[in-house]
Symmetry: C2
Subunit: 551 residues, 2 copies
Amino acid sequence: MNTDHTQHILIIGGVAGGASAAARARRHSETAHITLIERGPDVSFANCGLPYHIGGEIADRDRLALQTPESLKALLNLDVQIRTEAIAVSREKKEVTVRRLDTGAEETLSYDSLILAPGASPIVPPLEGIEHERILSLRNLQDMDKIKAAAETTDSVLVIGAGFIGLEMAEQLRHIDKKVQVVELQEQILPQVDPEIVAPVEGEMTKHGIELILGDGVASFSHENDLVSAQLNSGKTVSAGLVVLSIGVKPESDLAKDAGLELGPRGHIVVNEYQQTSDPSIYAAGDVCETLDPILGTRTAIPLGGPANRQGRTAADHIFMGNNALAYPGSIGTSIVRVFDQVVATTGYNEKRLLAAGVDFDTVTINAHSHAGYYPGALNVTLKLLWRTSDGLILGASAVGADGIDKRMDVIATAITGKLTIDDLCNVELSYSPPFGSAKDPVNIAAFAACNIRDGLVTPALDLSDDKLQLIDVRPAEMSKIRPLDPSFGAKAIPVSQLRNRLDELDQSRPVTAVCALGKMSYFASRILTMNGFEARSVTGGLALNPDLAK
Amino acid sequence: MNTDHTQHILIIGGVAGGASAAARARRHSETAHITLIERGPDVSFANCGLPYHIGGEIADRDRLALQTPESLKALLNLDVQIRTEAIAVSREKKEVTVRRLDTGAEETLSYDSLILAPGASPIVPPLEGIEHERILSLRNLQDMDKIKAAAETTDSVLVIGAGFIGLEMAEQLRHIDKKVQVVELQEQILPQVDPEIVAPVEGEMTKHGIELILGDGVASFSHENDLVSAQLNSGKTVSAGLVVLSIGVKPESDLAKDAGLELGPRGHIVVNEYQQTSDPSIYAAGDVCETLDPILGTRTAIPLGGPANRQGRTAADHIFMGNNALAYPGSIGTSIVRVFDQVVATTGYNEKRLLAAGVDFDTVTINAHSHAGYYPGALNVTLKLLWRTSDGLILGASAVGADGIDKRMDVIATAITGKLTIDDLCNVELSYSPPFGSAKDPVNIAAFAACNIRDGLVTPALDLSDDKLQLIDVRPAEMSKIRPLDPSFGAKAIPVSQLRNRLDELDQSRPVTAVCALGKMSYFASRILTMNGFEARSVTGGLALNPDLAK
Ligand SMILES: Cc1cc2nc3c(=O)[nH]c(=O)nc-3n(C[C@H](O)[C@H](O)[C@H](O)COP(=O)(O)OP(=O)(O)OC[C@H]3O[C@@H](n4cnc5c(N)ncnc54)[C@H](O)[C@@H]3O)c2cc1C
Ligand SMILES: Cc1cc2nc3c(=O)[nH]c(=O)nc-3n(C[C@H](O)[C@H](O)[C@H](O)COP(=O)(O)OP(=O)(O)OC[C@H]3O[C@@H](n4cnc5c(N)ncnc54)[C@H](O)[C@@H]3O)c2cc1C
Ligand SMILES: CC(C)(COP(=O)(O)OP(=O)(O)OC[C@H]1O[C@@H](n2cnc3c(N)ncnc32)[C@H](O)[C@@H]1OP(=O)(O)O)[C@@H](O)C(=O)NCCC(=O)NCCS
Ligand SMILES: CC(C)(COP(=O)(O)OP(=O)(O)OC[C@H]1O[C@@H](n2cnc3c(N)ncnc32)[C@H](O)[C@@H]1OP(=O)(O)O)[C@@H](O)C(=O)NCCC(=O)NCCS
């Protein structure tokens, strides 16, 4: 704990983590000298808003510059030095060497506490032809200006990478009527979310005229005048007047590495719960650092705005409060993106990561109304819950739909913070009046369905390609008529309301798998079947989650 | 635990608690005989939707009847007996006497397990003249039909009671262009929410032409032809063609009382965590029963749809699973109402109830954007947090605004379930992309502000009528010009950005109280003042929460 009144706090990086640390530090001390070093010409800008200015939704560029060096001086008495790059840290001397980018001059600045918040830079793979003025990445206002200007001179854009930023770019570029193609190495968009949950978003993109090229990557680029062509791994070639690269970010940790600070396996700075690096006078915050994964107790790195802001605040607190500061509890990766009328969000772990972590988990996906079905405007929420088999601890969730997705994800993120189980979530009491929820919110329904699996009340149908499959379609007759199942499944249509009287039409020697529209009636049917001596299965999530059954 | 296959489950009350119990019971057993007794002609209807059909928002009346006796027979093989009233319970014989309301005939039905879910009836105080066909309450579809028909024959409606249902009725009646007056005994609408939080809703109602008569009650009614006049305690008389009584509900527990079941202080049936009454063969669920208050560990009664549904489900679980059933953890009273463009919601305790409970608590109210301020459409969220002084445990919250209110309340309701503290809430990681949230969500901001009070970083200004008050208006000059403070406060305008240079204009011997628009700049100002040796205060919530300062 350093309460020396003339202490010097030096901060590298003037945006989310850095500016937040500086602001909080000032609220702890009026006398500390707080210097913010920023390589670019801007500080405190809204990275997350950049795509929306390109698409015109945020019309006024100035709205993205939340603060200027002058306003930070006036408001917080910060010494902001832009166009200044930190190039070396001397831990012994407690000095940082900086270069003034406009003059090339170098200088050393001393510190009592140093906070590293240099963020992460877009990954630019070493591909042939990638260095080109029409192959751009998006990180700051200058990048944005370049992409916006380039987009104005072409009709077609190729977005490489279908992560959150790639999707926002694709949507916004369609918004200004560009022809948009998206290339993604994985077989799905948003690889951090389970594939069935992002499927509706893929459909939404296609519906809006975006061409998705999944399971393919760029091998090399070539150019002819203003046209860039990407040769894909599959041999295919796609061309566009502009390429936006958004295949991920890597921590800007060279400075830390050169200073001998401990780095994690993927190059992130290792910090403790107060954001202190392996040198106690040096803190790190934001995309550059690792953090605790509070769910499984391992380490992770989550390049998101909320964590960056709060980690910066934590570092400032620790400088002034020592171990009385509130420890940063780690990040669970709650994230969200809107793509036209669909919204997809996730928190905590997905299946792929749990499999990789070797955790014994279970999962369910339900469909339920965003608010009371009898009140106008209710839309479907598809919600997937993942929990630890041994004790029901909630490990993660994801959701997709047009309304109320953020709310459900935030509730489950909070549940994860509280280490709640599927049992706890059954009775979590969410606000309900007809425009806002239901007496049984989708979150409760997901927890019920999870407990029903855990308690053996229902067995999810896992393998629909089984030869012995005896599928029954338990939807009301009209629905089965409007959207019939694929005849190859040989399903028999028995509406759940007739099932009790038609059990003799089924072969009791084979398992019976029930399917319906959303997964609720098939659950009801499976209960009837089980209690009548059948080995029953229910197709979780119904046709909504398994649209292939109806093709 | 009774797994006898021919057991008879008898349920009194066929709506939220009763129908949910019946449905869940059927999913536990195909062979049990499940009988649902309902006094009215309808079961499984959407009580919560009734006001919205009167106002025409839910145009189709049929949408409110979620199930019919026939559909419950078909789907769940329930024996539904409508127009049948339970009139006595013989616990020794395990029999219930019922009366067929159409014939007057009486019958006895036996049970192995009995579930009481008769709900609560609207309170009708014994006032002179109250028995009149134009003085109506709203509980079921028949009441709704009567009110709707009566409303069609008059231009003016008097709503007595400004609780959740009273407000929905007032809004919906304005929606169909009635002249609406609301009389409420308390000095505020929604007495279960702290007054400053409902103030914007009161403004919204006035703005929409509703006359609010607060702090006044009805002493008696008189009528002349189709006009009802209410004589108020104040001596005032108000008249209308229709009176809607919505002053609260009382549990329908006479049957339970006559059967000798234990009742709580306000007449609710006492149950354990499995919804079992003092007779282990008899369960109770919904508005008729008490439940645990999990926040302070006392008893409470929460007449809401979600709890009723889940308590019914719990009772059914216990019949089949015994103590392996998931216990009902109690209710915290999360509730919400939309009134025109304003939404107000609450969860857990408010100030009044905490004072009554003698708990040492603290509170803060913040204003923050519903989503990133730089993205179009961000609106103000006013969020109040209450926590236990000793350990920071979150005890309650309320919020008001036009957007994102349900989400914040649901997050805090979940936090309460997880027994989170204000420290935990600082770092809860909510979904953020520009259309949905902020890097620091209003929930985080409220937690920061709470911790800042707890940690002594800021002192809220409590008494603005203090003689020695030295008020400074730290808003930007243009804002102070557009909406000046009331001159009687003698405030000096010093924008926070000038404060460091103008400290000599202040009298250091007296406390300085800073005020701004939302409470953030005044907090910043109070930090500057404190660290410069002033005794400083900040007006929590700014002018948004204290509009009287600007009158
Ligand atoms: C287009 C886009 C959209 C995004 N959308 C979202 C979203 O919707 N939700 C969300 O949660 N997150 C989003 N993010 C991520 C979020 O912006 C980052 O997680 C966050 O900004 C990280 O903060 P940081 O302080 O670690 O780094 P940054 O905000 O990147 O700031 C680091 C700064 O340090 C400077 N710097 C680096 N090295 C040096 C040096 N040696 N000397 C001087 N200065 C240096 C850089 O120039 C940079 O300005 C988005 C990011 C982008 C780019
Ligand atoms: C207009 C209105 C709006 C509401 N809005 C909301 C809202 O937005 N959000 C929310 O959470 N809650 C709301 N509620 C409250 C919610 O509807 C109740 O909490 C819930 O219905 C209680 O369920 P219950 O099963 O205990 O009682 P009820 O749903 O009232 O059902 C009890 C049934 O039992 C029957 N009955 C009673 N005694 C007997 C007997 N002796 N024999 C046979 N039958 C009997 C009654 O006729 C009644 O139909 C609202 C209620 C009303 C009236
Ligand atoms: C602009 C920036 C410097 C502001 O930093 P900041 O002042 O710490 O943050 P905010 O403006 O959100 O204000 C939060 C502070 O005000 C307080 N506050 C906010 N509203 C308040 C209210 N109504 N009443 C009381 N306090 C309030 C909070 O408690 C917090 O103070 P604390 O940290 O001392 O507890 C920084 O957030 C930034 O640079 N952001 C842009 C970059 C970015 O975040 N990018 C990624 C996402 S796009
Ligand atoms: C209509 C009514 C009888 C339905 O009872 P219900 O079948 O228990 O309730 P729901 O229709 O909400 O369905 C919930 C059940 O389906 C399951 N379910 C729902 N969607 C599912 C899905 N997509 N996949 C799997 N299971 C699903 C739930 O797990 C739950 O089953 P469980 O209790 O065995 O775990 C009852 O809710 C009722 O009468 N409601 C109207 C009255 C009322 O609630 N009024 C107050 C509010 S207006």
